[in-house]
């Protein structure tokens, strides 16, 4: 070894031994003793216990191999999942496993498809991953294969079920593939979900909204039953990786390579609304509950969770408004010289200055944002979009991008459209964008969703209009959906949305984490603000606009997680 190499090794050894001492109190010494410390090799580097033992027994008798416990895996119990979960080991034998794996016809089945992350096939009904719901309107030609009935008979005998499921999703995971944490939509299927693991074991991760997490070992050929709380209130997912840290039969931990795992997930489609007691995660419950705020409630909700928030986050929000969206630009640039364009909810004037031939006026309820708009050289005034202080028939063009989804009942959203139409000249056109409930359309995820999962760690220069860039990837990772009531005087029981995931409800509060530097407060704490959104379903925006009598629908489209319309005043 050269001098340089020795110095490097010495440095590394020093670093590792001091880390060992720091974490466990164990001191290393120069002379050999009967204890040997192997540094920089463990579970996270993929070193398997099975490799170590034969390697060292060449030199003598190995009494024991002890893994220094790593805080995150210490005290972990892989054998128990959330309440309502049961793992039935050795549920099928090897022959039965073979038969089941062979009954899958990936090629020709009705809805076989190849998702980016894993292979999926459905029987009975299609389970839709973009909203974790079942498409009950279009039953599939292929029902659950006959080969599966042995499983149901067995479960019936054991007393776990009394009827047979009618929906099956088969997922095949190659090592490195996984599935993001999700809760199957309550109204989609009943309280029991079965999952048979074939081909390989895996660790399944469960998370509860209050922050608790559990890891559950699903051995090969085991049947997992998720019911009650485990089904309704805990999300389940599989981390995309090639190995899992698992308990060894003889005690201790080890790293297991994953094989190809094929899971059979059986569900009972639900014919009625869900009546569980896990209200916070329940779409049926929330559909009922978040029916229409009355105007007084809506005003209060918007005051607290729209107007006040934008005032507080204005600077940071403005900093994150980057490239104007092409479709909006096209619209703005299509107007001839001398046109008057009004931007309702203009924010910092993001869409102004793109067409030198037109006169642009912006309005926003936020003084701070309006101020930023004015500083950029544009005409602006503050007002509420429900009462535009503009003359009838005075604008040739109007845009309202990501605004009316902040209005807390349908009447108000309609009123906003009516105001826009009133202000438009005859034959004038408006472009309206609202956030869509479905963030994945035509199998393509919106840029809002794409920031999740693998893309999180990479720097995201492109920011969705509704999102701040990720402040701290690790912090975001541990964020779970929390629920809380706001303000004693009002009772806004709204679900809190988890950023960069699919929407589970139509009326939500969406967090915005404010960068410490932008805050006017002295503390360096990251403050979270919650903005109210009513996310739109397909068709909803069109229908809303067409309720106004002199409106003609010119164009209707989906753009990066938004439903959009261009309307004309007749």
């Amino acid at each position: 070894m050269t001098g340089f190499a020795t110095r490097k090794v010495v440095r590394k050894v020093k670093k590792l031994t001091s880390m060992l001492h720091r974490e466990s109190g164990i001191e290393c010494c120069e002379e050999p003793t009967k204890y040997l410390f192997i540094g920089n090799a463990g579970l996270t580097t993929g070193l398997q216990r099975e490799c170590l033992v034969p390697h060292f027994t060449k030199y003598g008798i190995v009494d024991d191999v002890v893994m220094i416990p790593v805080p995150t895996v210490e005290n972990k119990d892989w054998h128990n999942g959330p309440p309502g979960s049961v793992v039935l080991e050795n549920f099928v034998n090897e022959t039965e496993e073979e038969i089941l794996l062979h009954c899958i016809d990936w090629g020709t089945s009705d809805s076989g498809q190849h998702l980016k992350h894993r292979r999926v096939i459905h029987y009975g009904y299609e389970f839709q991953y973009h909203n974790n719901n079942i498409n009950k309107d279009e039953p599939l030609k292929d029902k659950i294969p006959e080969e599966c009935s042995v499983l149901f008979d067995r479960l019936k005998q054991m007393g776990y079920i009394t009827s047979c499921p009618d929906q099956l999703t088969i997922n095949q995971y190659l090592p490195g593939q996984g599935i993001p944490p999700h809760i199957d939509t309550h109204s989609a299927c009943e309280g029991t979900i079965l999952s048979l693991s074939l081909g390989s074991s895996v660790i399944m991760e469960f998370k509860h909204r209050d922050g608790q997490s559990m890891s559950l070992l699903l051995p090969q050929r085991s049947m997992l039953i998720m019911s009650g709380e485990a089904r309704y209130a805990w999300s389940h997912g599989i981390t995309p990786r090639k190995t899992d840290i698992m308990p060894c039969p003889g005690g201790g931990l080890s790293v297991q390579n994953r094989g190809v795992r094929t899971s059979f997930t059986f569900r009972w489609t639900r014919k009625d609304k869900c009546i569980c007691s896990y209200h916070l995660e329940c779409d049926s419950y929330n559909e009922k509950e978040s029916s229409e705020q009355n105007d007084a409630g809506a005003t209060e909700l918007e005051k607290l969770h729209v107007h006040k928030v934008y005032e507080d986050i204005a600077e940071h929000f403005s900093e994150t408004r980057h490239k104007p969206w092409p479709n909006v630009l096209d619209f703005v640039q299509s107007f001839p010289k001398g046109s008057v364009l009004v931007d309702v909810g203009c924010g910092n004037g993001k869409y102004f200055g793109q067409n030198k031939d037109i006169y642009e006026i912006g309005c926003d309820s936020s003084w701070n944002l309006s101020s930023l708009c004015k500083d950029r050289g544009f005409q602006v005034f503050t007002c509420n979009c429900l009462a535009l202080p503009l003359r009838n028939d005075s604008a040739d063009a109007c845009i309202s991008i990501a605004v009316i989804h902040h209005l807390a009942n349908e009447n108000r959203r309609l009123k906003a459209v009516q105001e826009i139409v009133r202000v438009l000249r005859q034959e004038g056109m408006a472009l309206i964008y609202v956030w869509a409930k479905n963030q994945e359309y035509n199998n393509k995820k919106s840029s809002y969703l794409k920031q999740n999962w693998h893309n999180r760690k990479s720097k995201c220069n492109k920011t969705n209009a509704h999102e701040p860039p990720v402040v701290n990837a690790e912090e975001e990772k541990s964020q779970t959906e929390k629920y809380s009531k706001f303000s004693e005087s009002s009772s806004f029981s709204l679900p809190l949305h988890t950023n960069r995931t699919q929407f589970l409800h139509k009326d939500v509060l969406v967090p915005w984490k404010l960068k410490p530097q932008s805050q006017k407060l002295q503390t360096a704490e990251v403050r979270t603000f919650y903005r109210y959104y009513h996310v739109f379903e397909k068709q909803e925006l069109e229908d809303l606009c067409l309720r106004e009598k002199n409106v003609e629908l010119v164009k209707s489209f989906y753009d990066q997680g938004n439903w959009c319309v261009i309307i004309k005043k007749k």
Partner: protein, 133 residues
Amino acid sequence: MVFRCAVHNMKLLTHNMLTSKCMKGVTVGYPLGIVAKDIKVSETEFNSEFVSRIIPKLDWNALWKAADSIGHSGDLPQQLMEDYENNEEFLKKVHHVLLEVEIINGELVCPESGRKFPISQGIPNMLLNEDEL
């Protein structure tokens, strides 16, 4: 529009579009009176076609009254002349009044209720109170 200076306050073209009709109890609410505390006169690029296309969209009377009330009507005629499209002189005067006279601070006043809407830093505040909606 191409503006030479970076920041612009409320222009009279903008004022021409504003109304307080959205307020409860107000029938017309137009034109809004102007109380100007600070006025700025800027210089902006003149485009005759732009001005001639804007003119039909204006309430001419309201424009003249507004300009006059703040002492900046110049020699802008009180009546809109015919055939203005080809009158460069005239268009330049209109351009000046529409785009080069700005209110930095002051008030807009509802002609029916007298309600005052402040203009600060060139931004009119037209937010209504709950009882005015």
